[in-house]
């Protein structure tokens, strides 16, 4: 079953610039895939359409068979709770501890304090941050900050996790570590879509790759075909 389906989706901005053109693809439940292409190829726009920061100009985006074009008002927020987002610059709240940052999606859902504590600590433990829960983001290394961002994205058990250049600021070792973390998420039922222009890293992960070029989906490479590309 497809968690996410893009059907001939186009996005044109008011100035006339075409960011996406007739893009169609599916993301299966528990699948991990990469979205790659040069800067300006449309990767970030595509992810923004998924978490409803923007809406397509044409075409249909279905999430769990729900047409996102028809999702408005309060349901935009409810949709975003089903999609975990990881940013290149982490977007952590500087004045809140690691624990509080990771707890945010659960606070939004109104979970009880004890339940929040249990879930946050479990995720932090899993991501190797068990001893850093009281630290402020500024007291963490870049890799730790990114792991906090991932912890925050997965703590709410989203159906889909989207990550926009999550390893852009990290050294290769840390980048590989973060990618391994992403690769472990589908085991828990979360589909993962990672936008990255780091082709070496993408190839090494041996996952499905969507290649965007000037807003067009020019290639959809299966993991087994990746070595030939």
């Amino acid at each position: 079953m497809a968690v996410l389906r893009f059907d001939r989706v186009s996005k044109q901005y008011s100035g006339g610039r075409v960011a996406l053109s007739e893009v169609s693809f599916d993301v299966a439940e528990g699948e991990m895939l990469f979205l790659t292409g040069h800067s300006g190829a449309g990767k970030s726009t595509l992810l923004r359409l998924v978490h409803l920061s923007e809406r397509p100009s044409r075409g249909t985006v279905l999430f769990n068979d729900r047409n996102l074009l028809k999702v408005g008002g309060r349901r935009v927020a409810l949709h975003r709770r089903e999609v975990g987002v990881v940013f290149q610059d982490h977007c952590l709240l500087a004045d809140r501890s690691v624990f509080d940052n990771v707890a945010l999606p659960l606070v939004l859902r109104g979970l009880r304090r004890a339940e929040i504590g249990r879930r946050v600590r479990a995720v932090l433990e899993r991501l190797g941050l068990g001893d850093r829960e009281r630290a402020l983001p500024a007291q963490l290394s870049a890799g730790e900050q990114q792991r906090v961002g991932i912890a925050r994205a997965v703590v709410g058990e989203p159906r889909l996790l989207v990550a926009d250049e999550p390893t852009g600021n990290l050294d290769p070792t840390l980048a590989a570590e973060i990618m391994a973390l992403f690769a472990s998420l589908p085991e828990r039922g979360t589909s993962v879509m990672v936008a990255s222009h780091d082709l070496r890293l993408v190839k090494r992960m041996k996952k499905r790759v969507l290649v965007l070029d000037h807003g067009r989906l020019v290639d959809d490479i299966a993991p087994e075909d990746l070595a030939d590309e």
Partner: protein, 316 residues
Amino acid sequence: MSDPRATVPLRPPSPLRTWIDHHGYSLVASLGRVFDRPWAALLTIAVMALSLALPLGLALVLSNLERLAGNVERSREITVFLREDVDDARAAALAGELRGNGAVASVRHVTPQEGLESLRADPALAGVIDAVGDENPLPHALVVTPAGDELALAGWLRELPPVELVQHDAQWRQRLDTWLRFGARVAWVLAALFGLGALLVVGNTVRLDIQSRREEIGVLQLLGATDGFIRRPFLYLGAWYGLGAGALAVALLAGAGAALAGPLAELAASYGSRFALAGIDLPWTLAVLAGSTALGWLGAGLVTGHFLRQTRPTGT
């Protein structure tokens, strides 16, 4: 070691429970933000308080004036002086006739002798009365308290044959009433203008707070915060400002009242009056606090609503 219970699917509590929890969280968090920046908060509260205190002060002055005018209005008798040739019997008969009139509440007959004694009781006039000698120039007088329309009654009394003069000071009372109505309208206009000012003050303060937290709000929105969740802390922040401003405005008015009460009581005593300045009472205090809190809430709501409309998903 991960906690196995954490893998149980997320099951949020009831929406009502969540709503109450979020309100509690926003209430406390917004109060925390007020104390985070005490001087900025105090300045906002002080400006709002002055905006509220000015029209409220005017309303209090008018309320006291109305009370004073009310005291004067209670003594709205019509004094009817009869012609010199009207004797005791005729005057008493006329008083009896008037008592039977539905437009008359009561009639007091003042004989020339009683009138003279009354004038003699006034130290300023006693000398003059003594100089007149034994002859009493005063006519019989009837002091009539109207039961209804006093103007119509005064006009009717003027037409009676034995009546020489009708003394009825309605005109200045009507003017006073007109001034009081005008003053009340001025107070309302000022209240509206200053209230708008207070609304803008709290709105601008909350707008600055939103700007300083724009990034945080953006992150919260991406994580699935509803408009209500984003809006609530700012609404409570506005309400705290409003409540603080209302309390300060009441305190300012109480202070001003205390400063004026003594000299005013002395002034009133010099005119033989026991008039005392009425301050802001409990119902008024509660109304001011509720109104100012609502004003703060409204100002914050308008600004936050505008901000949230700007952050909707763009394009179609």
